[in-house]
C-alpha cells in the first residue's frame, strides 16, 4: 500500500482547469526555480557525470582516508579515500534508472489491468479487484522484499520488485478513472454516433482518464527512489563497490560518529531529489500543461 492518497474524481464532473494562461518566467516562484535547477543537475549527473566531478568514484586514495569536506573534496572522502561527491554523482544513474524501471513496470501493468477490469467488468473485474485488495493489504516495502527473495538480489531485481509492488496503486486509480469517464455523457454520445465499445474505450475513455494516472506517476517515481534506496540500504540492491545512494548510506553507517557526512550527504541527496522531482512535476502539471 502507498502512503500517498489520490482523491477520486466524483462521477459526472470534468475537473475544472480554469482558463488557459501563458506561462511567464517572472511568475515562476523561487522554490520552483530551485527545484528545476536540482532536477537539471540530476539529469546532468545521469547523462554526463564526468562534467560534475573530476574524480573516479571507484579509485581509492590512501592519502585521503575519511577526510572531512574540504575544497578538494567538497563532500569529504570515505574509508578508502574515495571522493564522496563523485560517488554520489555517479550513483545517481543507478537510483534514477532503477526508479524509472520500477515506475514503467507499475504504470504499464497497472494501466492495462485497470482498463481491462473496468472494460470487461463482471468476473474479470472482481478477480482483478480482489488481487488489488490483497496487494494493498501488504505494505509495499515488505512486498518488494518478498519479490526480492524470489528473484534474488541485484539492482535490476530490486527495481522490478518495487515496480511490481506499485502495480496495485496504478490499477486501482486507472480502473476508477476509467469507470468515471465511462459514465460521462460524451462517451454515451460517441456510442450513439456508432463507435464500437473497443474504439470508444481506446480513443475516448483512455485519453481522458489517463491524466490522473500520469500525475500519480510522478508521485510514484519519488516513492520508488525511496524504496529502491531502502532496499539497497538493506543490502538487497546493487552490490558494492558500485555507488548507489542507499548503499552509500549503508557503507557510511560504520563511521556515522567520526564521519557523519558519509551518511548525511547521500541521505540528503535522496530527500532533495524526491522533493525537487515532485515539485517540478506539480509545476508542470499546474502551469505548463493546464
Amino acid at each position: 500500500m502507498t502512503t500517498i492518497e489520490t482523491p477520486p474524481t466524483q462521477p459526472g464532473t470534468v475537473p475544472d482547469r480554469g482558463p488557459a494562461r501563458r506561462l511567464r518566467l517572472r511568475d515562476v516562484a523561487v522554490v520552483d526555480w530551485v527545484a528545476i535547477v536540482v532536477v537539471a543537475f540530476l539529469v546532468l549527473a545521469v547523462v554526463a557525470p564526468g562534467l560534475l566531478t573530476p574524480y573516479d568514484p571507484l579509485r581509492p586514495d590512501s592519502n585521503a582516508i575519511l577526510q572531512a569536506p574540504s575544497s578538494a573534496h567538497p563532500f569529504g572522502t570515505d574509508y578508502l579515500g574515495r571522493d564522496l561527491l563523485s560517488r554520489v554523482v555517479y550513483g545517481t544513474v543507478r537510483t534514477m534508472v532503477g526508479s524509472a524501471i520500477a515506475v514503467v513496470i507499475g504504470l504499464g501493468i497497472g494501466t492495462v489491468l485497470g482498463l481491462v477490469a473496468a472494460y470487461f467488468g463482471g468476473i474479470v473485474d472482481a478477480v482483478i479487484s480482489r488481487v488489488v485488495d490483497v496487494l494493498l493489504s501488504i505494505p509495499g516495502l515488505l512486498l518488494s522484499m518478498v519479490i526480492v527473495v524470489a528473484l534474488g538480489f541485484g539492482a535490476i531485481n530490486a527495481a522490478i520488485a518495487v515496480g511490481v509492488s506499485s502495480v496495485a496503486v496504478f490499477t486501482r486509480l486507472m480502473r476508477s478513472e476509467t469507470l468515471t469517464v465511462t459514465a460521462l455523457p460524451f462517451v454515451e454520445a460517441s456510442h450513439h454516433l456508432g463507435g464500437t465499445r473497443r474504439q470508444v474505450l481506446i480513443r475516448h475513455v483512455f485519453p481522458n482518464s489517463y491524466t490522473a494516472v500520469l500525475s500519480l506517476t510522478a508521485l510514484q517515481f519519488g516513492l520508488a527512489i525511496l524504496w529502491i534506496s531502502s532496499l539497497s540500504f538493506l543490502g538487497y540492491g546493487a552490490p558494492p563497490p558500485q555507488p548507489e545512494w542507499g548503499l552509500l548510506v549503508a557503507e557510511g553507517r560504520e563511521y556515522v560518529v567520526s564521519a557523519p557526512w558519509l551518511v548525511v550527504v547521500p541521505g540528503l541527496a535522496i530527500t532533495v531529489s524526491v522533493l525537487a522531482i515532485s515539485r517540478v512535476s506539480q509545476f508542470v502539471r499546474e502551469r505548463v500543461l493546464p
Binding site: P11, S137, L151, I270, L275
Partner: protein, 334 residues
C-alpha cells in the same frame, strides 16, 4: 442490507483477503522459477548440517507436486504451525514470538507519536496566527515523506545518543530506548495523516456551523478543539488505521538502524538469507494485522460519528465503481 449482514460480509471479506495474501506470497515464492526451500536446503555451496536437513526435507514434503505442498503448508498454517526456519531449523512461531512483542511495543509508541505529530502539525498549519509559520509547517509533511527513515534514524542517533549522550545506543533503558526509534518510525508514517488532517481541518473551518458558533460567542479555542477537530478528523482516522502496515514494514529499516531485535530485524535477516518460511509467516502476520485493524475501524465508525450507518445503501453505479477502500469512503460519506 441489514447491519448484521454487513458485519458478517466484512468479516468474510477480511478472511478472504488474508487467505489470498497467503496464496499470493506462496505463488510469488514458489511458482516463479526455482523452489527456494529446496534450493536452500540442498545448496552445495552452503551446506546445512545433516541433522537439520533431514527433518526439514521430510517436513516440507519436497517430493510432492507444488499444489500438494501448497495444501500441506496451508493446512498447517491454519492450525498455527508456520513451519521451520531454513537457517537454523527452529520453528518459525518461536522465531517470530521472540521479536513480536518488541515490535508491537515499538509500533504502538510510534503510532501514538505519529498521531501527536499529526495533530501538532495540522493544528499549527491551520490555526497558528502567523501566516509564515503556518506555511512553513505546511511543508513539513512533504519533507517527512521525502526523507528516507534511515537518514532520520542516523541523524537522531548521532545527535541524541552520541553528541548529547541523552540515550544510550547500546544499553536497554526501558521506555527511553524506544523514544528515538519510535520517533523515526513516526516521522516516516505520520506525513499522510498530517496532510489529510490539514485538508479536513481547513474544510471544516469554512463550514457554516463555525460561523454560527462564532456568532454565539463560543471561544475560538473551543471551536477549534471541540468542533472543528471532531468534524475534520474522520478521514484522517481511516488513514491512521491504514498506516499500521507501513509501521510494521518501516520497522525493518528502523530496527536495522537502531539494532533492535524485533520482527523488522528478523525480516531483514530472513530476506538476506532467503529464509522462505519465515518471510511467508511475516507477510501473513502483517497482512492479518492490517486487515483486522481496518475491519475494527470500519465497524467502529458509527460509534465515533453517529451520522454514519454501516448498512448505507449504495446505488448500482457506485457499487460498480467501488473497490473495498473506495467503498468504505462512500459508506463514510453516506
Amino acid at each position: 442490507m441489514t447491519r448484521r449482514s454487513f458485519v458478517l460480509r466484512r468479516i468474510a471479506q477480511s478472511l478472504l483477503v488474508i487467505y489470498l495474501s497467503y496464496t499470493l506470497v506462496f505463488a510469488v515464492l514458489f511458482v516463479l522459477p526455482g523452489n527456494p526451500i529446496k534450493d536452500k536446503i540442498t545448496n552445495p555451496l552452503n551446506p546445512l548440517p545433516e541433522a537439520v536437513v533431514k527433518p526439514l526435507l521430510e517436513y516440507y514434503d519436497l517430493d510432492l507436486p507444488l499444489w500438494q505442498q501448497y495444501l500441506v503448508t496451508l493446512k498447517r498454517t491454519v492450525t498455527g504451525d508456520l513451519g521451520y526456519s531454513l537457517v537454523n531449523g527452529r520453528p518459525v512461531t518461536e522465531v517470530l514470538a521472540q521479536g513480536l512483542s518488541e515490535t508491537l511495543v515499538l509500533a504502538s509508541i510510534a503510532l501514538a507519536f505519529s498521531v501527536l505529530l499529526a495533530l501538532g502539525i495540522s493544528l499549527t498549519a491551520v490555526f497558528f496566527p502567523v501566516a509564515a509559520v503556518r506555511n512553513a509547517v505546511r511543508v513539513l509533511p512533504a519533507v517527512f515523506l521525502s526523507t528516507p527513515s534511515f537518514l532520520v534514524g542516523f541523524a537522531l542517533l548521532v545527535v541524541f545518543s552520541f553528541r548529547l549522550g541523552w540515550v544510550s545506543s547500546i544499553r536497554d533503558e526501558g521506555f527511553v530506548s524506544y523514544v528515538l526509534p519510535a520517533l523515526t518510525l513516526a516521522i516516516a508514517v505520520n506525513a499522510p495523516i498530517s496532510q489529510v488532517l490539514i485538508q479536513g481541518l481547513s474544510k471544516a473551518k469554512g463550514e457554516p456551523f463555525v460561523t454560527v458558533l462564532k456568532a454565539k460567542g463560543v471561544p475560538a479555542f473551543t471551536i477549534a478543539g471541540r468542533h472543528i477537530l471532531k468534524n475534520g478528523s474522520i478521514p484522517a482516522l481511516t488513514l491512521t488505521a491504514l498506516t499500521v502496515g507501513d509501521l510494521l514494514a518501516g520497522a525493518t529499516i528502523v530496527e536495522t538502524v537502531f539494532n533492535r531485535t524485533g520482527i523488522g530485524l528478523i525480516t531483514e535477516q530472513a530476506v538476506r538469507e532467503q529464509d522462505t518460511p519465515v518471510v511467508m509467516a511475516i507477510v501473513v502476520l502483517v497482512s492479518t494485522l492490517f486487515v483486522v485493524i481496518n475491519l475494527v475501524t470500519d465497524l467502529l465508525y458509527p460509534v465515533i460519528d453517529p451520522r454514519i450507518t454501516l448498512a448505507a445503501r449504495r446505488s448500482p453505479r457506485q457499487r460498480r465503481g467501488s473497490l473495498s477502500r473506495r467503498g468504505r469512503r462512500q459508506v463514510v460519506a453516506g
